[in-house]
């Protein structure tokens, strides 16, 4: 519980830090008449990889996942976003053993909250929404119940294919550290839409969503992104 509180607090701090950065940015903006200026922008397609997943993969033996993101800037500082990846869980507890794996897809939009100050300004502090789904394959599970008085029992639960659907709200930051290269993070609040199939032995980990036995999840991503830009939008 304490660890979770520390995590939530840290994420809040990160978000606030983002807001501070954004505030600093706002201080540097031009007068209002310049802020309303309309820029002719190139097309931008940005590819990102979540660098936090390979790190957690090293430390957590029970789960592995990889996540990627692509977004495309459309009008009014709105970005179409698609996020995909895959992962698996290998649960090997003394009283519960099974494996699960799934790919996932999240699609949605991000809306930048910063005012653009130049055509080359692609830094963004944003909020967004996603719809996500994941087809999950869970293997047969073996369980053991422990009873110091009567003795232990064990058995097998048949494997199952499940599909998770969820909605999420997200917020984050992207900063162009070097030309075309971005660094930034997202925080997510995810809400499982179909809870009923997940009441009986939900996968411990669903790549793209998080812990399968929670109906509400808070999660984060840290993206390194590369932007492709071409042409001019009309």
């Amino acid at each position: 519980m304490l660890l979770r509180a520390v995590k939530i607090w840290s994420l809040l701090c990160l978000f606030l830090a983002g807001a501070v950065v954004a505030r600093a940015q706002a201080d540097t903006t031009e007068p209002e008449q310049d802020a309303k200026k309309v820029y002719t922008l190139p097309h931008q397609l940005r590819f990102g990889i979540d660098i936090s997943r390979p790190i957690t993969n090293i430390f957590l033996k029970t789960r592995q996942s990889y996540e990627f993101q692509v977004d495309y800037a459309i009008k009014n500082e709105v970005y179409l976003v698609a996020e995909t990846g895959w992962g698996n869980a290998n649960i090997d507890y003394p009283d519960l053993r099974y494996k699960s794996s799934n790919p996932f897809l999240r699609v949605g939009v991000d809306k930048t909250m910063l005012t653009r100050i130049a055509a080359s300004d692609w830094d963004m502090l944003f909020i967004g929404m996603r719809y996500g789904f994941a087809p999950i394959k869970r293997s047969d599970a073996t369980y053991t119940t422990t009873d110091s008085l009567w003795g232990n029992t064990s058995g097998t639960i048949q494997g199952k294919n499940l599909t998770a659907h969820w909605l999420e709200v997200t917020a984050g930051v992207r900063v162009e550290m070097f030309k075309d290269f971005f660094l930034g993070w997202n925080i997510h609040g995810r809400f499982l839409l179909n809870q009923k199939p997940f009441r009986e032995l939900p996968p411990s980990f669903i790549a793209g969503y998080g812990k399968g036995d929670k109906n509400t999840i808070f999660d984060y991503n840290f993206y390194v992104s590369y932007a492709l830009r071409w042409g001019r939008k009309k």
């Binding site: 660890l3 995590k7 840290s10 990160l14 830090a17 950065v21 600093a24 940015q25 540097t28 660098i51 936090s52 790190i55 957690t56 090293i58 430390f59 957590l60 033996k61 029970t62 649960i91 507890y93 009283d95 519960l96 100050i117 130049a118 300004d121 830094d123 369980y143 053991t144 119940t145 422990t146 009873d147 008085l149 009567w150 003795g151 029992t153 058995g155 930051v173 900063v175 550290m177 660094l183 930034g184 993070w185 009441r199 009986e200 032995l201 939900p202 411990s204 812990k211 399968g212 036995d213 984060y220 840290f222």
Partner: protein, 175 residues
């Protein structure tokens, strides 16, 4: 556009956050009981009138029959919590009102259905029970070996809910 100093700050924060990401836990701690208990409460008829009052033994023993294990060496406790066997659909417990009198002992026989119940990935599986009936030895006229007058199944659903008395045991007035 964000200044270079702030970009450096962002980099440091991101690295710290990545360090934190490495601190994710493998398995959540299990914060609920993994074994459910059946609660029994003992009563007896008051010395005068028809009132039913709590009854407690001064030094009772309680344990599964056909086993050397003693679960309770209770003193003046009118409520007992026992577990049912997940290995079978019936189990027997003994209730010995006085630890010094080993021959004076009652037997309780529980008949029930088992249901495998998933708790969580943190806690795994357990068994819930639906008790169909309970039988017991009963003190008859001039009987000095038994103490129970009757038993009544109050709630047969043994599923970990607190503050439920599943079985009421009425102790004979002369015991």
């Amino acid at each position: 556009m964000i200044k270079t100093g702030h970009k450096l700050l962002l980099t440091v924060i991101t690295l710290c956050a990545l360090g934190q990401a490495a601190c994710d836990t493998e398995r959540d701690p299990c914060l609920e009981p993994v074994t459910v208990a059946l609660t029994m409460h003992t009563y007896r008829l008051a010395d005068t009138g028809t009132a039913i009052i709590d009854s407690s033994f001064t030094n009772a023993l309680l344990g599964p029959l056909d086993s050397d294990k003693v679960i309770y060496q209770a003193k003046a406790i009118p409520a007992y919590r026992i577990t049912l066997s997940p290995m079978a659909d019936t189990c027997r417990w003994y209730l010995q009102p006085d630890s010094a009198q080993s021959k004076k002992r009652d037997t309780l026989v529980f008949h029930y259905k088992r249901k495998l119940q998933f708790l969580s990935n943190a806690c795994g599986y357990t068994y819930y029970y639906t008790v169909d009936s309970v039988r017991s030895t009963i003190r008859n006229f001039a009987d000095t070996l038994h103490a129970i007058d009757s038993v009544r199944l109050n709630n047969g659903d043994v599923n970990g809910k607190a503050d439920v008395t599943h079985l009421k045991i009425y102790i004979h007035k002369k015991s």
